[in-house]
Symmetry: D2
Amino acid sequence: MIKASIIGATGYTGIELIRILKNHPMVSISKLYSESYKENKADEIYPHLKNNLNLNFCEFSKENFEDDCDIIFLALPHGHALNLASFFINQNKKIIDLSADFRIKNTNHFYEWYHKKHTQQELLKNTLYGLPEITNKINYNHINFVANPGCYPTAILLATIPLLKFNLIEMEHFVFDAKSGVSGAGRSLQLNSHFCEINENINAYQIAGKHRHIPEIEEQLNKFTLKNIKIQFTPHLIPVTRGMHITSYFHLKDNVTEKNIYESYINFYENSSFIRIYKDNILPQIKNVKGTNYCDIGFQIDPRTNKLIVISVIDNLIKGAVGQAIQNMNLMFHLEEDLGLHFITNYP
Amino acid sequence: MIKASIIGATGYTGIELIRILKNHPMVSISKLYSESYKENKADEIYPHLKNNLNLNFCEFSKENFEDDCDIIFLALPHGHALNLASFFINQNKKIIDLSADFRIKNTNHFYEWYHKKHTQQELLKNTLYGLPEITNKINYNHINFVANPGCYPTAILLATIPLLKFNLIEMEHFVFDAKSGVSGAGRSLQLNSHFCEINENINAYQIAGKHRHIPEIEEQLNKFTLKNIKIQFTPHLIPVTRGMHITSYFHLKDNVTEKNIYESYINFYENSSFIRIYKDNILPQIKNVKGTNYCDIGFQIDPRTNKLIVISVIDNLIKGAVGQAIQNMNLMFHLEEDLGLHFITNYP
Amino acid sequence: MIKASIIGATGYTGIELIRILKNHPMVSISKLYSESYKENKADEIYPHLKNNLNLNFCEFSKENFEDDCDIIFLALPHGHALNLASFFINQNKKIIDLSADFRIKNTNHFYEWYHKKHTQQELLKNTLYGLPEITNKINYNHINFVANPGCYPTAILLATIPLLKFNLIEMEHFVFDAKSGVSGAGRSLQLNSHFCEINENINAYQIAGKHRHIPEIEEQLNKFTLKNIKIQFTPHLIPVTRGMHITSYFHLKDNVTEKNIYESYINFYENSSFIRIYKDNILPQIKNVKGTNYCDIGFQIDPRTNKLIVISVIDNLIKGAVGQAIQNMNLMFHLEEDLGLHFITNYP
Amino acid sequence: MIKASIIGATGYTGIELIRILKNHPMVSISKLYSESYKENKADEIYPHLKNNLNLNFCEFSKENFEDDCDIIFLALPHGHALNLASFFINQNKKIIDLSADFRIKNTNHFYEWYHKKHTQQELLKNTLYGLPEITNKINYNHINFVANPGCYPTAILLATIPLLKFNLIEMEHFVFDAKSGVSGAGRSLQLNSHFCEINENINAYQIAGKHRHIPEIEEQLNKFTLKNIKIQFTPHLIPVTRGMHITSYFHLKDNVTEKNIYESYINFYENSSFIRIYKDNILPQIKNVKGTNYCDIGFQIDPRTNKLIVISVIDNLIKGAVGQAIQNMNLMFHLEEDLGLHFITNYP
């Protein structure tokens, strides 16, 4: 059994990690570290865990760290992993970091977008950007530190990379219009997660090149294409708890058919059990992936404009965060990639 | 492996049965019968099943019935099981009926509330009302036909029976104020499941002794107490998809303490892994049981009025329907009662 | 024109007051005092006011108070009006206080439930509890200070008082099961107004005799009946922004018919244009009163139990707060009671 | 007083027309024709109208038509106005048609998109496309028949036309990503307005050049520019009852600044009291216009891509349908354009 601990166990990603790790056949949970609740029984704070977890939350400190876990999940706000990562590496722990701290290789970009100097450049070089359907699986050999992708980048890159690989689209004028559930903003209190502000509303935020997932997406696209692609990315908050829906607009190359596109996706993802490609004009919806690790992709060509519209949907907390982290863990430990991740959505 | 078939596979309970049976370690699905979709691939109609189920829906007819299944789940509107049950009994199938047709032993009451003559009185005698936490487990031996309880009766009886058993409450003035998610009304189209009629609203319906779950609840209470209890039951629709929340009001007997109540519940449910009893004034919420087979129960005494208020919550489609049906199946086949039902809610 | 100012103009009640006062034909807004925004233009913080209001928020201080308004609305958290009221009385302002500070005449009860000594007992005696449909209109003559009722008390008293007046119900075992929208909890940040905690959920809170609206309701019932009634009151939060729905349970006196009840309500409210009584088994719903000053009341008798179930619904921010305050203002200034309050809901 | 009648009074637009006409100072309602309810009192079917409207619904027939109204609002499904319009013209009634039947001047396009031959070409020539902020006001003189624009075209054209007028954007690669509340789909029953299908979901529909509002939008753009613009338009359904949010993407011409854009909008709409232009990076939200006749417009330039992103929001049933119809009526009768339309949203 793999012994796993979580730092930041009481946020929305932490608590979802607990659920999935608890049901994972090859994992036992070691420690649950939390700043917010330092002594409480887990099911006292989160009664949905009652009968399932007999653990207390505890405080993390480097000084008194005694945890024989094999892997640490860092589920912390951006900036914290920078300070903690080398400590755990020195303790011979494997690490999966769910924050942005080690996602961007270009430290100038990191500074520009996160207003923080990257103090761990050596470690950054040995970190794997872990989007398992895109990343070469061979890269997981001997890797100890995975930077888990952001939710928006996951849904966008999975829709886009196969089209680039098979040379189906022009490399400019990418528009990604994104709609996200509110859980992506976390459990901390802020006016724009107040029920009355979200309910019966939709609002765009950090539009026109301001959202911090842009450099992450562009770095991956440019690594893949060796170009200097600039994307248009517009995130919106919609009144749902979970789920993410991306409407992508691409300029199609000449003479590309829907059949070409379908086959390219199928081909690209033939070994990826979490990607489902739709055809016959059926379009993905959040409700088909909520609570699962799937990314569903559908598309149509507009013959009037020769544009390709692709819809991709994920559960922002699972394929967009925790489920993907478990996929990465499975690969780091040479387990089946989908172990412990066979969820079907609770329809309706 | 148990081979299971579903009649009525494409309604909300049918589709949820598919999901849980698919993941059950001792079950393989045999046939999925549907009136609405007679030939389609299941994942064509319900894309959330893609990659998980390679079956077609098919039409049921007695004439051409060739199905070597061991058990049939009837997930049909009220009235249909009356016509089908004896056919399957003659075929030596076990049956779990999710409709109301065989829940009420008193056929006069059945006629009075359902306006239908009960044509299967012999069969009715051999049917078990299958609320596993209340029903004596010994009754499952040799039983072939289980009537699966209604959603409201499940949440109400689980909150009430232990209080009667330990003689903690007066046997009159029971008030059950119930709030249900919209999925309980099914997938068929009606004005009161139109989004714009439900959203930003709450409405009571069939109040003041009109709802058909009343005779079912009263029969069970009266069977248990040998009294003639009449309940007050008020159902409301709230703008959530899944979940049921019952606020029960009881007159407390003298000198009963919260400790007495807690211990009575704990005692009554000591072997029931799906019932979770809350204490320390924490109150159950739908969000802790959604997507699970749990019934969570919490309570407080009002010393000003000597009333006991009990809150019980379930997922109406799981513990209130399909999950309970699987519990019943497990018991009929002498499996562990909770096999294939270990769900933790996707919080938040 | 009446010149009106608001203290606490930027909370949910404050901002709704602005809207209604702005459209009131006999009012001009004088000043908008706010702690949160001390200089901003109103439509900069609340863009929905753009083109409608050319005013800045400003800071209130007793020292620099120069405001020639005729009436002050206090839309502040509980406790603040205690300190401010006499100041405004000395300035010859009329006052409508939307907090609980002056609602309860029994100062022992006030202390017991609000944990605060009532320091303004003299003033309290001269304060009118302003529920216009219940309060004798003659009492508004010469009154300068109105305590505006709470939202739950408004919806509960309007449903109950006529039944007591016409002696239709027993004076015990009152059960009020209440469901409220989230705006009632205000705009301040707290976990139980976080979208993800409210959405797809319902939760009871402060049950079993703990909610602070209980002494207010009981004082009014007891003033009316000269009895010592104790009520059972259970508030729940439902995932809607606005609206309040009360399901009331009463023991009926012998031989009371639905016709008796209907006529009693009609009779009691014959001069009350904001109370609408339903018949023919149609039940009130939040969606019929949202955005209006109406209280809709419907009911049914259960002949099986001889209980009367009454449903009353209001918009918690209008009839439950701001609209009622304007009604009170109209009466204080001898205007038509319904002036500026003719709203029909935006169905759907 | 203007006497107004509605054909199709019981759908969502019909019922909203009733509300606004009822409160309009220069209108009295004559007749309410409905197919669904032919004799009922209006407030029996729609209790929210109680105390406000003492009218019955009635059946329309050409044979027995006796209605001395001045204006008829046609709130019918597409196709019906084609058959009715000339009848009313012959009766000397003014007409506002809320369907698509007379919006598109190019009858080939009408046939192509609506699969119906346009049988009223003469009448069509004399019909005014009534988007009052764009249409020259002089055109309203002597006009008797107005085709009321669609909801999507309203929100899109109001955002786009000023940019074209002032030559700020390229005339290609227009992308309009639209999100609409469910009331736009009407009150008729269909699976994609079932609460459980919409709630906790978002879905795109009729994407890639399939939605029928496309020819209407393009005709207006091309009339204005004398070009042959093809747009990309992607509608989505979001889980809100009312509201429409358009995210528009434009290629900016060189050296255009945010100041240029702001001033162009302000200039274009200087006499339009229902258009509100945002600045300082504040973005429009549905919640600021819900229940009102406003169209709020905000925008930002992305200097990285030289794209302009514009957000426009309306209430789909008011500015997107009924409110705009009343604006058109006011102009046809030479009243103030905004008479009876001064609504501020019920925030929150």
